[in-house]
């Protein structure tokens, strides 16, 4: 029974001397899980795991577990899991032995295994992985992530997600990284050493929050339209913006089975803007509590990453807010928001001395 391309280390054929080392950087995200590996492979998958509901579904789908877009496509025939919430494995903060926690942990392990498989490792390679976790991840959450990853790799380290983004860009001093994910928005200021708890802030106002708000607003605006959270997410990924000027957002939604067009620009803007105030507050707090001699550098070195950074006009809006509240501000969007975290994690994995990897294996 193979559910996905990569078997656990215990099932792989291991020669006496490994023939290579595959470094993997992983951004285990609430919405998407991305991997970048030292064999040049980069892949991303929506963080969904689905198991056929019954024997009939299993026979029809010819798979025992489905992932990402395929799982979403067949969701009516599946027990669908989105194993991460708020950037961490669901229920990992509570009773880890409960049936529900175990089910989500299992789904997360399947997802991680699938993601490692997407990197297409050779069977005889050692796999050293760095996984990004939210800036203020609890001990239980880290434990759950390690439990999910360890069975499928030879050694794993956990690093704060915004830190991985900064490391990937080689910007380690006087810079503020904002990583807007689905579950959380993480902020981390870099001061040339490992960020401490005081250097990092996490807010729950992120992509999922926008989805919920947009769903609420669309239900009010588009009377009679049938709309699901999955459809809302797709609309947001295509049309999200926060600025004043934007092309009209016209969407087609089924009303009593008939596709009907609605103009929802105002609703889209309002929903997307809900994440801005908490982000600006967090930026303000991190800058105001930084060494005064270096605050100006920090203000002019704000990096915007993660899927949420793609919102039209967000960079400009943050700069405007920073100028109003802090006197100045310059925000730069990272080139590859989807892979920013995974690229940085890969770089950390690669740079980590071999003996340190071995001590953790």
């Amino acid at each position: 029974m193979s559910k996905n391309p990569t078997p656990p280390p215990s099932a792989r054929v291991r020669p006496e001397k490994p023939s290579g080392v595959l470094y993997v950087g992983m951004d285990l995200g609430t919405s998407r899980t991305s991997v970048a590996a030292s064999n040049g492979v980069r892949e991303t998958v929506a963080s969904y795991v689905g198991y056929p509901k019954d024997v009939v579904a299993r026979k029809a789908l010819k798979k025992e577990v489905l992932f990402g877009a395929e799982a979403l496509h067949h969701r009516l025939a599946l027990d669908l899991y989105r194993p991460l919430e708020g950037g961490v494995i669901r229920h990992s903060g509570g009773d880890a032995k409960s049936a529900e926690a175990q089910a989500y942990l299992k789904a997360a392990q399947e997802l991680v295994r699938h993601a490692i498989g997407l990197a297409r490792p050779k069977a005889d390679e050692l796999i050293y992985a760095v996984v990004g976790c939210p800036a203020q991840c609890s001990l239980q959450n880290k434990s759950a992530i390690i439990d999910a990853v360890r069975p499928v790799v030879d050694s794993v380290m956990i690093v704060s997600e915004p830190f991985t983004v900064a490391y990937g860009l080689d910007i380690l001093t006087d810079c503020l990284v904002i990583d807007i994910g689905a579950g959380t928005t993480d902020l981390c200021r870099m001061r040339g050493s490992m960020p401490t708890a005081d250097d990092q802030l996490t807010t729950p106002f992120a992509g999922d929050h926008v989805d919920q708000k947009l769903l609420e607003l669309l239900k009010q605006k588009c009377a009679g339209a049938a709309i699901t959270i999955h459809a809302v997410k797709e609309l947001k990924e295509r049309w999200s913006f926060v600025g004043e000027k934007h092309e009209p957002v016209e969407v087609e939604l089924p009303v009593n089975g008939k596709p009907t067009r609605f103009e929802v620009s105002a609703e889209m803007r309002e929903a997307c803007r809900t994440i801005v105030p908490s982000m600006v507050d967090a930026i303000h707090r991190l800058i105001a509590s930084y060494d005064p001699d270096f605050q100006s550098r920090l203000k002019n070195h704000v990096l915007l990453g993660g899927g949420g950074s793609q919102m039209g006009g967000l960079r400009e809006m943050l700069e405007t807010e920073m100028r109003e509240r802090l006197g100045e501000g310059r925000v730069v969007r990272v080139d590859e928001p989807t892979y920013g975290g995974a690229n940085g994690a890969l770089k950390i994995a690669h740079d980590m001395p071999a003996e340190l990897w071995e001590r953790l294996s």
């Binding site: 080392v21 040049g40 297409r120 069977a123 001990l139 239980q140 740079d351």
Partner: protein, 276 residues
């Protein structure tokens, strides 16, 4: 009952496992081992049995089929593709044997049915002849009594009715004989039906095993065609410049943090603390 069985499993696993020392393993050149604890093994067996029982009972299968199903489920959960292939072969052999039994039984049944039909026809004919032999004197006696008591004007009509009445009585008795003969033979039919159900179940298991094998083969092919890393040996930050030193210090901090995390997680007193 399953729970009680599972409680005994760890003892069974222990008694069947080979003991060796770490030094012995090292001398044999083994550098890495992967540990599967008894609790996990019990869990896998439990899951396999549960899945097999659920499917088998739903299909009205026997305990033997449930055991076979549990074996397939166990192998699947253990990811043992070779054992799974062997189990697939075993299922094919079982299916062939059962189909052979079924064919032979069908042949015997057809022959028995013919013989039975011939015997029944013979018995029915004999019974009908005996009935006719007893019916005619009975009718004569009865009509004789009626003729003696009846007025002379109806005697002719009574005699005319006699052949019709005789024919109707014979027809009724013949039907009663045929209905009585139709009851037997259910035992063999039931056995055939049971065997057919077993063959259907084995066919389903076989298809499932073949699907699993196909997927396992595809996975193996995919693994073998993986893309090699550009690194043949472990890497690490190179150079002694200020940047490299700063990075090394950062990486050491990341390592220390992860090492501390492992130590903390390994300490049950700390990991059992309520969540923050």
């Amino acid at each position: 009952m399953v729970t009680q069985l599972l409680h005994r499993l760890s003892g069974l696993f222990r008694s069947k496992a080979d003991r060796t020392s770490l030094k012995q393993l090292e001398r044999s050149g083994v550098r890495n081992v992967h540990v599967l604890d008894f609790a996990r093994l019990e869990e896998i067996v439990g899951e396999a049995m549960e899945a097999a029982l659920r499917e088998t009972l739903a299909a009205g299968g026997s305990a033997e089929l449930a055991a076979g199903g549990a074996q397939v489920e166990f192998l699947r959960r253990m990811g043992l593709s070779e054992r799974l292939a062997a189990r697939g072969g075993e299922l094919v052999r079982q299916q062939e044997a059962l189909e052979g039994q079924l064919d032979s039984l069908r042949g015997t049944l057809a022959q028995n049915k013919d013989e039975l039909a011939a015997r029944r026809k013979q018995e029915r004919d004999a019974a009908a002849a005996a009935l006719r032999a007893r019916l005619d004197p009975l009718l004569e006696t009865s009509f004789g009594r009626i003729e003696r008591a009846a007025p002379p004007v109806v005697l002719g009509q009574l005699r005319a009715v006699l052949p019709t009445l005789r024919a109707a009585l014979l027809e009724l008795l013949g039907e009663a004989l045929r209905a009585g003969a139709a009851g037997g033979g259910d035992g063999e039919g039931g056995e055939v039906e049971l065997l057919e159900r077993r063959v259907r179940k084995l066919n389903a298991q076989l298809l499932e095993t073949q699907e699993l094998l196909e997927r396992t083969r595809a996975t193996r092919a995919q693994e073998e065609s993986g893309i090699a890393s550009i690194h043949r040996t472990p890497q690490g930050v190179k150079g002694d410049g200020a940047d490299a030193q700063a990075k090394k210090a950062l990486l050491r901090e990341i390592f220390q943090h992860n090492l501390e995390l492992r130590r903390t997680l390994a300490d049950p007193a700390i990991t059992e603390l309520p969540p923050r």
